[in-house]
Symmetry: C2
Subunit: 141 residues, 2 copies
């Protein structure tokens, strides 16, 4: 990584990647951002997408969501909130609950860590997967 101290230039591409995340409420993966922007930037490289996602996260403009799936998701909403993921289809949605800062202090006393925050990930079955379609196939996202 080691991008910490670099001066950043204005990059049209990075801005587009940022927009793709902020405008779409789907919490995209790096791959799906790549697919989306590939239409406009045919020469786009997946490595560049990853690099810029890292930079944007480091700058605090987006955040990385660890899910139960292999691939990380990215979220442009920096307001503290939680997520819920469908165990069946992988769909990831926002859950807006009041952030409990008190529990962070409690855990700080319990563990001796300097607590920086916490993330809550709910899991379950989404409404679309509750009654599976006739043919048995499951939709993904």
């Amino acid at each position: 990584m080691e991008n910490r101290m670099k001066e950043r230039r204005q990059s049209k591409l990075r801005e587009e990647i940022y927009n793709a995340i902020v405008q779409h409420p789907v919490h995209p993966t790096a791959e799906s951002i790549y697919e989306q922007l590939k239409a406009t930037y045919p020469s786009l490289s997946l490595g560049t997408v990853y690099r810029n996602l890292g930079i944007l996260a480091e700058q605090g403009l987006i955040r990385r969501i660890d899910t139960y799936d292999a691939a990380d998701r990215f979220d442009g909403n920096m307001q503290p909130h939680s997520h819920i993921q469908c165990r069946q289809c992988g769909r990831l949605e926002d859950v807006f609950l009041p952030y409990d800062g008190q529990v962070d202090q409690m855990v700080e006393r319990m563990t001796g860590f300097q607590v920086e925050g916490h993330a809550v990930l709910f899991s379950g079955i989404c409404s679309r997967c509750k009654v599976p379609p006739e043919d048995g196939r499951q939709q993904v996202q």
Copy 2:
């Protein structure tokens, strides 16, 4: 995967893997379980460790912890509890907080998901990393 309906035989090795997780409070990775058991079972294969971890998790004897690191950790304590991870060294510790089942119901109403549960992961800096050692090196676990 698709191990769901299989009848299981008694496997000394699986039992050892289970013991390695339950007895050690460090929330080991597959790799570190492998390293540990390699001493006693020189022919042990990493694939076998992964396979058995999957089986044990499926049987509800252990659980998989998603952390900020790439590698999954495994926990033999099935009592519901949370975890905290050090952003610096990766250390993962238990945090025993009362499980809030009410919030699951609330989220169920909010999202339309059939909520199965939630996991809380705290992050911060552990006491050992707070004041880094003279030489600047950081300990890992």
